[in-house]
């Protein structure tokens, strides 16, 4: 798993990256009450807002950590947005993206680097 400074995670299987928000992000957000996932087929660019997660008090953008085409969205979050809090780095994934440029992954942090980064916040 690799991480962004905006607290998204990516797990790559072949040329498809599963994307979600980190446990730290879920904790900061508080109880998630609504998730808007991207449409399948949508082309996303690394750094663009591609999903929205809402707590009682606010809506927050989730940025695409990598560029590519959305090949699957986590439809289960529609009825159970609380999954993002319960299992942010597993069942609470947002979408799967077919990588357009796998070298983008090199710019992301590994877990020790992300955890060191969290210590600076």
């Amino acid at each position: 798993m690799r991480f962004t400074k905006d607290h998204e995670w990516v797990e790559v299987d072949g040329d498809v990256a599963t994307v979600g928000i980190t446990a730290y992000a879920a904790e900061q957000l508080g109880d998630v009450v609504f998730v808007e996932t991207p449409d399948v087929g949508k082309a996303v660019k690394a750094g663009d807002g591609f999903a929205v997660v809402e707590s009682v008090k606010a809506a927050s953008d989730v940025y695409a950590p990598v560029s590519g085409e959305v090949v699957e969205a986590n439809g289960a979050l529609g009825d159970a947005p609380e999954t993002v809090n319960a299992a942010p780095e597993a069942a609470g994934w947002f979408a799967k993206v077919k990588l357009a440029n796998p070298s983008e992954l090199d710019a992301l942090m590994d877990r020790p680097a992300y955890e060191a980064y969290l210590q600076t916040l």
Binding site: D6, H7, E8, I21, A25, L29, G30, D31, V33, F34, E36, V52, V53, E54, S55, V56, K57, A58, A59, S60, D61, V62, Y63
Partner: protein, 381 residues
């Protein structure tokens, strides 16, 4: 991931602390700037649980940022009527009344509570973000008629929820005899408190004005009761929205009249006939003919919660209004919003849409409040 700004206030001035600042830190409060103060938006359990706890048990809120003051004069009640549309000459000792401070065009400068805990003029509580201007306006408009004493050394806390009365009565038995909008001095915790049976959550509860030096001790004593938890600004906002209570700076501003805002109950009959308050001509016309826009309550039937600034459209797709407060209702488990639209579109049962991030989402027009009020209007009732 990035969170949208949820609150905008004047930048620059250093943030103030309420007498409960240390208590918030000690209990894990997440402090944010609000109305010029550092106040907890939530504690460790988060907004959703704090909201539901208040609806089921009792929540304790620090609202010390609000402006407290005393108006005194030869005829302070009559004088106060020059800046508000309510019947204050008829306000009896021991009672509190909600009102709005009006500008000369009938727009709302602030909404407020004014009460008579005793025979010493009027005790007023105004919004924190507006308080400097409010007291300036009152001082200027009522110059020579009233003097204002600001209670800047007093804290204000709200204890709200179905168990609030039992909790407070354990320390001050006399509060059990109070009903909604009663107010009085109460000696409890070794201090002289001004207690009103009111609040801004839709629940039964109390607002308690406390000498600042005793605030932290009383706060902690109330929290020793397992029915009570501290509640932050996040849940305060979602609770008041479910209760359909307007928030100044969002649903109310200097362009909005009390008729447009659905606050006609605050314009008493005798005052309507006298037409002797600021902006009376506009307000009388709106009462007679209906306002150009009106507060509308929407239940979002599908999709994301609509937040402040979202457009409201009708069934033809035409944009006819805007959301001024919106969010997720923990009780109804859907998006709820209040906004302004032409009165013809505001009839409960009607269909409207909200536009959220470019998506048109169906809404039902409903009657406020979204969640029923549970005020105690008679003792034992």
């Amino acid at each position: 991931m990035a969170e949208a700004a949820t609150d905008s206030h004047e930048q620059g001035a250093p943030l103030k602390k309420t007498p409960l600042y240390a208590a918030h830190i000690a209990r894990g409060g997440k402090l944010v700037p609000f109305a010029g103060y550092e106040l907890p938006v939530q504690y460790a359990e988060g907004v959703l649980k704090e909201h539901l706890w208040t609806r089921e048990h009792a929540g304790l809120f620090d609202v010390s940022h609000m402006g407290q003051g005393r108006l005194r004069g030869v005829a302070p009640l009559a004088a106060f009527e020059e800046v508000v549309p309510g019947d204050f000459i008829g306000l009896k000792p021991g009672k509190q009344k909600y009102s709005v401070l009006l500008n000369r065009t009938g727009g709302i400068i602030d909404d407020l509570m004014a009460s008579r805990p005793d025979d010493d003029g009027l005790f007023v509580v105004v919004n924190g973000a507006c308080k400097e201007n409010d007291f300036k306006v009152i001082d200027a408009e009522l110059a020579g008629q009233v003097t204002i004493e600001r209670y800047e050394d007093r804290a204000l806390v709200a204890l709200q929820g179905p168990e609030a009365a039992a909790v407070l009565a354990a320390h001050a038995p006399e509060v059990a005899q109070m009903v909604f909008m009663d107010t009085r001095w109460v000696k409890a915790f070794g201090e002289e408190l001004i207690v009103s049976r009111s609040g801004y959550t839709g629940e039964d509860g109390f607002e308690i004005s406390i000498p600042g030096h005793a605030a932290e001790r009383i706060w902690n004593t109330l929290l020793e009761d397992e029915r009570v938890k501290p509640i932050g600004l996040g849940a305060r906002d979602s609770l008041r929205l479910e209760a359909g209570l307007p928030l100044y700076g969002h649903d109310l501003d200097e362009t909005v009249s009390p008729v447009e805002a659905g606050l006609t109950f605050a314009i008493n009959k005798n005052r309507r006939e006298q037409r002797d308050f600021p902006g009376a001509a506009r307000i009388a016309k709106e009462l007679a003919e209906g306002p150009a826009r009106k507060c509308v309550a929407l239940k979002v039937l599908e999709g994301a919660p609509a937040r402040e600034g979202a457009e409201i459209s009708d069934e033809t797709g035409a944009v006819i209004g805007i959301v001024t407060s919106g969010g997720y209702s923990p009780v109804l488990k859907c998006g709820i919003a209040i906004g302004f639209a032409p009165p013809s579109a505001c009839e409960p049962g009607g269909k409207l849409n909200v536009i959220v991030r470019g998506k048109t989402q169906a809404c039902e027009v409903v009657k406020l409040p979204f969640v029923p009020h549970r005020y105690v209007r008679k003792v034992g009732g």
